[in-house]
């Protein structure tokens, strides 16, 4: 029951909750980002990061430093933190932590399938995959010719198998189908995660269901905007929206008939949270929408740490870690390309 988890949460989860809050204390603050934005070279960035939790990972990198090296090492730190927590977790926390990585698995699968469609080398693609979403038979994805083979050869042994029931067709894989496949898989994953969190009950379900609803609504809006002007029909578009969230079901009806960005903005007028996001952008502009969504997401994720004795802090830490890596990538790229004026366009401050 919500409110009494303080009595027995600490039996299995108390130690790991304290560990993840320790990790969160190591995330970079606004002052750190301001220092990083003043850097002239990538070596300055490495020096500033030497005072943070990334120090052991970047210490042995040889100069000259590349932005890809910084991003890779910082992602490695996040992966090490995750593996440390997963190895010590018991049920149901271990299942919860595994659910967090399924989104990355889906992205990796789509990356490899798209890459092999364009005749890229499998090893090159494997290096670009996100380390949190790796699984054993991932390299065999390059061999599959259509979705049925994809499922039968590789995915039936992975945790993504149950998400495939809605998208097995015998069609060949092409650009459009792959995107539809990605979104269908992600929809099934979000709904599965939502059901799992609801089953956990207590504060975890309340907070996680809120966060997942925001994620589902954000994806619905992004799918709508990205499919404006493409061949995706209204019904197909509607099938890609998840069946939970604030926008379900009436917002989805409105979104599925939108034909341009301002119509989307008009459809979102009724939902105060999303209306606030669209209000930050002036008319006709859609580039800053991603950043506005990231800012809203970060705000909600930091609020999860206000409460104790629930699992949403683990989810929030992983997402905030990814946001931090995105920030570092943006800063490194701006510094490397000497475009310091645009540096604040892409950095989302966390604390």
């Amino acid at each position: 029951m919500y409110g009494f988890e303080a009595l027995n949460f600490n039996v299995d989860g108390g130690y790991l909750e304290a560990i993840v809050r320790g990790y969160k204390a190591g995330l970079l603050t606004t002052a750190d980002y301001n220092n990083l934005c003043q850097c002239e070279h990538l070596d300055d960035i490495k020096m500033h990061l030497g005072a943070s939790d990334y120090a052991p990972y970047l210490a042995n990198e040889p100069s000259p430093l590349h932005t890809s090296a910084i991003v890779e090492k910082c992602t490695q730190k996040l992966v090490d933190d995750y593996n440390h927590m997963l190895s010590q977790a018991t049920e149901p926390l271990s299942t919860f932590l595994e659910y967090i990585t399924y989104g990355h698995m889906i992205d990796n699968v789509v990356l490899i399938v798209t890459g092999s469609l364009h005749e890229r080398d499998v090893h090159e693609l494997l290096e670009k995959c996100h380390p949190l979403g790796m699984f054993d038979s991932i390299a065999t994805l390059a061999v599959a010719q259509n979705m049925r083979e994809l499922y039968r050869l590789v995915l039936v042994d992975t945790p993504l198998a149950p998400y495939f029931s809605e998208c097995i067709t015998s069609e060949d894989l092409d650009e459009m189908n792959i995107e539809v496949m990605r979104n269908t898989l992600y929809k099934a994953y979000l709904e599965d995660f939502y059901r799992f969190c609801k089953k956990l009950g207590g504060a975890t379900s309340t907070i996680m269901c809120d966060l997942l609803a925001f994620e589902a609504d954000r994806r619905a809006i992004n799918i709508t905007i990205n499919s404006i002007g493409t061949e995706l029909t209204r019904d197909d578009r509607k099938k890609l929206y998840s069946n939970f969230g604030i926008l379900y079901p009436y917002g989805h009806d409105e979104l599925s008939v939108c034909e341009d960005f301002d119509q989307v903005r008009g459809a979102m007028e009724k939902y105060p949270a999303y209306q606030g996001i669209f209000a930050k952008l002036s008319f006709g502009e859609s580039q800053m929408l991603d950043k506005a969504f990231y800012e809203e997401e970060v705000k909600r994720l930091t609020l999860t740490f206000e409460q104790q004795f629930h699992y949403a802090v683990f989810f929030a830490y992983m997402r905030l870690g990814e946001q931090e890596v995105r920030n570092l990538m943006w800063i490194s790229e701006c510094v490397a390309q000497q475009q310091k004026s645009r540096i604040h366009d892409g950095v989302v401050m966390i604390f």
Binding site: N10, A18, Q308
Partner: protein
């Protein structure tokens, strides 16, 4: 269905139970449930303290106070159990009204102390857990949260005081000459 109506027989059930049964259960509850509360509170604080101290080792020595407050709750239970058992005298008239009253007062004293200490231990344990996490992030918060814990541990003391007052009236009838 008919036997429910024979309420005189039901009250006889209590009248025929020896007061020593009630006293012994009271003493058992006083120490058993208090120790349950103390243990519950200690594990809630301890698991969080260990995890938070990995990152901020400086918090360990100060935050042991939370564990000590929880432990005090168990000590209250033991002290009251010892006091109660000294009040338990043998008597040749176990069903005299005065000895029935003594039995019930020891029983109630045990329940009071046991359950007051149970919730006190829980309260101090949960606050101690949050205290460890807050101290790890910002060391100025420790003393302020400690004040909350002190108020929490006063709850156990209330239980002990009332329990001792209840048991002080436990007098057993002297043997008829």
């Amino acid at each position: 269905m008919g036997f429910v109506l024979f309420w005189r027989e039901w009250t006889h059930a209590f009248l025929y139970m020896s007061p020593f049964v009630f006293s012994a259960i009271g003493i058992a509850l006083s120490v058993g449930v208090s120790v349950l509360g103390a243990a519950w509170g200690i594990y809630i604080t301890g698991s969080t303290l260990i995890g938070a101290a990995i990152r901020a080792p400086r918090i360990t020595s100060k935050n042991l106070i939370s564990v000590i407050f929880c432990e005090a709750v168990a000590i209250y239970g033991v002290i009251v159990a010892i006091i109660l058992q000294t009040k338990l005298e043998n008597t040749t008239q176990p069903f005299h009204p005065e000895s029935m009253r003594a039995g019930y007062s020891l029983f109630s004293s045990g329940i009071i102390v046991g359950f007051a200490n149970l919730v006190c231990g829980l309260c101090v344990g949960i606050i101690g857990s949050s205290c460890a996490l807050s101290d790890a992030q910002n060391s100025t918060l420790f003393v302020k949260i400690l004040v909350i814990e002190i108020f929490g541990s006063a709850l156990g003391l209330f239980g002990v005081i009332v329990g001792i007052i209840m048991s002080s009236q436990a007098t057993w009838p002297s043997s008829p000459i």
